[in-house]
């Protein structure tokens, strides 16, 4: 009865609005993005060994992979980010967030939501993600959440 709802009506529209028209594509090649993500994961490990949380977050959140065909780089970045989040003491979180530039705060919020959306992740890292979410919202406000929802450059 509801099968008509599954019909892709856009295929009959010659002038349909494509996702790619709604944001500027990443100029980098997917292989290059992946290589970049790997290097950053290495750099983050080094910084974490020296307990430089803010530095590690800045590196991983800068120029984060987005768009199609870079799923591997996206997942690698998410797992690396989660390592950082997990190793941060809860008393340090607010200070670290305040030291981040606005762009990095917005990107961090995107990853927190991505992490919460991963099937099964809620059991493992749900409380960590929620803790960061609460503190990030205190600093950057609900505007930061709004930007996560509107931004088509999905991480």
């Amino acid at each position: 009865m509801d099968s008509f709802r599954k019909i892709d009506i856009d295929q009959y529209d010659e002038d349909v609005l494509q996702d790619s028209e709604l944001y500027d594509a990443d100029p980098r090649d997917p292989a290059e993005v992946l290589e970049d993500a790997r290097q950053r994961a290495g750099a983050v490990r080094g910084l974490l060994a020296r307990n430089d949380i803010a530095g590690a977050l800045t590196i991983i959140l800068d120029n984060a992979p987005y768009g199609p065909n870079v799923d591997e780089a996206k997942n690698l970045t998410l797992t690396t980010l989660l390592t950082i989040l997990n190793t941060t003491k809860s008393t340090e979180i607010t200070g670290v967030i305040k030291s981040l530039p606005l762009d990095a705060q917005d990107t961090l919020m995107k990853y927190l939501y991505k992490g919460m959306a991963m099937p099964g992740w809620g059991d493992i890292s749900g409380s960590v993600l929620l803790g960061w979410h609460e503190k990030l919202t205190e600093v950057a406000g609900v505007g930061c959440i709004v930007r996560t929802m509107t931004d088509r450059r999905i991480v």
Binding site: L17, L22, Y23, G141, V142, G143, C144, R147, T150
Partner: protein, 394 residues
Amino acid sequence: MPQIFTLSQTPVTCHSFSADRSQIAVSLNNNDAQILSRQGNEWVSTVTLSEHDKLITSIDWAPNSNRIVTCSQDRNAYVWQEQPDPETGRLVWKPTLVLLRINRAATNVRWSPKEDKFAVASGARAIAICSFDPENNWWVSKLLKKPIRSTVLSVDWHPNNVLLAAGSADMKARVFSAYIKEVDERPAPTVWGSKLPFNTICGEYTSPAGGWVHTVGFSPSGDVLAFASHDSSINIVYPGGPVVYNIRMSSLPLVSLTWTSEDTIVAAGHDCRPLVFSGSEAGWQEAGTLDDASGKSPDSRSGFGGSSVGRLKAGAFATFRDADSRGQSSSGSAATDTKLSTIHQNTITTVRPYEYRGSNITRVSTSGVDGMLVIWDVNAVSALSSRLGAAHLR
């Protein structure tokens, strides 16, 4: 002190004042436009303009020619003119249909500064530029189409009567030429360009984090463009560079703005209070808000702001928790929690100039989903830190 009026229990979709500010045309979220007259501290409905069959989305009252234009989701626009009735001789508002030639809802309408044209934004990925055709005694339209990719949500005219800014749901604000040969003289060159045939694109600017562009506005000189988008940011564009200043807000998105002078903007939206932005070509920042709570006691704004756990736990969360654990329905303290600490109790949908002094605006009017009309003094700016907005988590 802001003047506060409750116009209705329904949302006020849009409002527009007559030139002497003694009357206001509003859409109360239905298909009739109401003209209200001010009697003391009340607004009393005097005339109903009934012609549309669907929700009226926008109204503009031309100050010099005293004509009202309304546009609606029924894809039509009407120009209303006050004329003597042939039988009784009384003045009545007579509608003239406009041939818009659009196949989706009309969303926004504005008279040009000279009041010889108006622009109708629409969901048909087009803007209709309408001018009067005296031979046939109706308004004809010419469509701005390229390169619009989605619904146009707002339009604003440049003071030269030719350039038009438009904000659209394809995340872009654009500046078009709406030059109509039959109506306009050749415009002088501006910072936006010198050769301006119809549908010239003089500028195209993307909202940085990809939000629908809700509102656009030219500065009084027309040399600067501001637009606010659904990514909770406002952008100010100097076309020469082009230099674009982006201000990210920690609060909810703005949906309407108006310039009050060459260096200040008043904007409002889902955060329920008007914000003031100020700056120059060297940079822009949030200056504060017009909604100062000093007249209210701290107790009356309980719920959010005061406690560190924030509004969610204090407001709706507490209501459900009490209902669940103690079987309490919302009453007593929970009822006061539903009152926002701002004057407007819901989204502000329109901000418009109310009073001019020279080229500057000294007072603005706002109306919103809560059915209220508020007139604010734009110089009464209070700092944001002293005051929490409706939707601030703290």
